[in-house]
């Protein structure tokens, strides 16, 4: 499951905000410092996460730390998913 979440988030960001050009982008790329996330792309990203992974994100989930990179986003989504989902696939 973690791999799927990670890959989906990565693909979404590369497709939506990097015109499909994934060169130089990895799970630790800082989304703020690299000009990828602003207030509008953040809204779109939250919409994508909620719809794709069927999770409900509270305002407290959304902060500079959870939005830092693909790793932190993946961990946030996994934390929201039911434990059974997390354990079944990998």
């Amino acid at each position: 499951m973690e791999t799927r979440v990670r890959t989906d988030i990565q693909q979404y960001i590369v497709t939506t905000w990097l015109s499909g050009d994934g060169r130089g982008f990895d799970d630790n790329t800082d989304l703020q410092q690299n000009g990828i996330l602003d207030s509008f792309s953040t809204l779109a990203l939250i919409g994508f996460l909620e719809e794709t992974f069927k999770v409900k994100l509270a305002p407290s989930d959304i902060n500079a730390e959870t939005l830092r990179n693909v790793n932190t986003l993946t961990q946030m989504v996994l934390g929201k998913l039911a434990p059974s989902n997390r354990d079944n696939t990998g």
Binding site: L18, D21, G22, G24, F25, N34, G35, I36, S39, F40
Partner: protein, 519 residues
């Protein structure tokens, strides 16, 4: 003084001096005679004072002779873009009411095929001996057959320097071309100013790079002819290649150059200008678009003997500001100034309420003075220019009095409620060392940029990271496309309109995406 009076004195004093060096070479005496011949021919074809004459020829001595002959006959010349599609040509021919057109045989054939004829009555073929079949009542004249028979002009019918000399069609913001009306006085004020700035004289060899329907060519043609200098044609095939342009400079010892910065960048990127240099050049004028600092620095280093002057002004005012770049600007400079008023023009910078702005604040550039056009030609009606003329350009005045350019007023856009000046986004993108050139647009509330990388290593992430350190977040293009090249206008500038249309319509042939192998 009028444009039609410039050549005869040189034809008398220096008849063998070369006036135009192109595929054909014309001395001043030959140019003078050819112009008179053409003037007689159009007068005999019923040209009335103030009639417009279309010039539809490749850049050549014959085209220049036709312009000179037109003004000698009391006409107004209208240079037509040989690269323009027939539909646009038809708009101009009708708008201008062209009854007389000088045309190259191959262009006439394409006009006939596209039915671009009405209201033309007389075609003057620049070469060839066979007359194509044309619908009545059109007549075709073989201009060069009569050269020998009519060397003298029966006196100039036009008298006033305030008569119209030429009309330049420029793209209107609505997409319909607008005819900018320029008088003899308008043109000569600029021509004399520019010639004096560089002490232009008979030993000079001035490049003709800009298309004749583009106002940069006014300097090339008329400043050269006014001072007995030689015009060296850098033809339409040569200007698409940086290396061929540089070959031409070397072969012909061109020493005065005036072009858009893109042409110089092309010589750097694709002509090895840095290695080969251009030692013959003593003056480089540039205008028409912002010269990215990194390229200006490289160009000035490569052509270290030349003076560099940044000329500024819309077609409507010709050149109204000028700045001499004395040494390569520092690497962290964002732009060179556009300078101070030239040609006795009076400059003001006004806010939206019409009040002068303080130094350092951005306002719209207003120009009054002798270079401001008479007005727009609009289907035979003359719409006089308002004075002072509002350029739509945003500028500020530095403490030292030099003006800085901040883009077009009409490229000010709003994205998610934020005011964004696209020129500022573009300046930032163009400052990236890995970007050759870039344009920015607001499309559906999104900032979209297209960029031509200077090399294969540039990634979209590189560009975003670069912007993130220089622009507020709302000004970072959310969508950045790396493309092989930008579409260009016939004058060589990046074509904003076609690039935007290609983005909206996902037209990948106009904006061919670069697909990195690793994707």
């Amino acid at each position: 003084m009028r444009l039609d009076q410039l050549v005869s004195p040189w034809a008398k004093s220096s008849p063998h001096q070369v006036a135009v060096d192109g595929n054909e070479v014309f001395t001043y005496a030959e140019l003078d005679q050819l112009a008179n011949c053409f003037a007689n021919l159009i007068l005999a074809s019923g040209l009335q004072l103030g009639d417009r004459v279309g010039i539809h020829l490749p850049r050549s001595g014959r085209a220049i002779a036709a312009m000179l002959g037109t003004v000698r006959a009391g006409g107004i010349y209208v240079p037509l873009d040989p690269g323009s599609p027939p539909a646009r040509m038809q708009l101009i021919v009708r708008d201008c009411g062209l009854r007389h057109v000088v045309i190259a045989p191959h262009l006439l054939n394409s006009w006939i095929a596209a039915s671009v004829c009405e209201p033309v009555e007389h075609y003057f073929l620049s070469e060839g001996t066979n007359s194509p079949e044309l619908p009545q009542p059109c007549r075709v004249h073989l201009w060069f057959e009569v050269v020998e028979s009519s060397p003298n002009l029966p006196g100039s019918p036009g008298e006033s320097p305030d008569d119209l000399a030429y009309i330049l069609y420029t793209s209107g913001s609505t997409g319909v071309p607008k005819g900018v009306m320029i008088s003899h006085r308008n043109a000569l004020v600029f021509v004399n100013w520019a010639a004096e700035q560089i002490s232009l004289g008979q030993t000079d060899r001035v490049a003709s790079v800009a298309p004749f329907h583009f106002d940069l060519s006014v300097f090339d043609i008329w400043a050269s002819l006014s001072r007995g200098a030689t015009i060296v044609i850098v033809d339409e095939v040569t200007v698409i290649s940086g290396s061929r342009m540089l070959d031409r400079i070397h072969e012909k010892s061109i020493n005065v150059w005036y072009s858009v910065p893109s042409a110089l960048v092309l010589m750097l990127e694709n002509g090895a200008l840095a290695e080969r240099g251009a030692a013959s050049l003593r003056v480089v004028f540039f205008a028409g678009e912002v010269f990215p600092i990194k390229y200006l620095r490289r160009t000035m280093t490569a052509i270290s003997n030349a003076r560099f002057l940044n000329l500024f002004g819309p077609t409507e005012t010709n050149v109204c500001l000028a700045y001499e770049v004395k040494s390569p600007p520092p690497v962290d400079a964002t732009a060179v100034p556009i300078g101070t008023a030239s040609c006795d023009d009076v400059i003001s910078i006004l806010d939206a309420e019409g009040h002068a702005v303080a130094d350092g604040e951005v306002g719209e550039l207003f120009v009054d003075g002798p270079t401001v056009m008479l007005g727009y030609w609009d289907a035979g009606r003359r719409t006089l220019a308002k004075h002072p003329y509002a350029t739509g350009d945003l500028v500020s005045r530095r403490d030292d009095g030099q003006l800085m350019y901040h883009g077009r007023r009409d490229h000010m856009v709003k994205v998610h409620g934020y005011r964004v000046e696209l020129g500022e986004v573009e300046t930032t993108l163009n400052g990236h060392p890995g970007i050759q050139e870039a344009l920015a647009f607001a499309i559906d509330q999104q900032l979209v940029a297209v960029a031509v990388p200077a090399g294969p290593s540039l990634s979209v992430l590189d560009v975003k990271r670069y912007c993130a350190t220089r622009l507020p977040k709302y000004m970072i293009p959310s969508d950045i496309r790396l493309v092989e090249r930008l579409p260009r206008t016939s004058s060589g500038k990046a074509d904003r309109v076609r690039a935007r249309t290609a983005l909206v319509e996902s037209d990948v042939s106009t904006l061919k995406p670069i697909r990195p192998a690793q994707l």
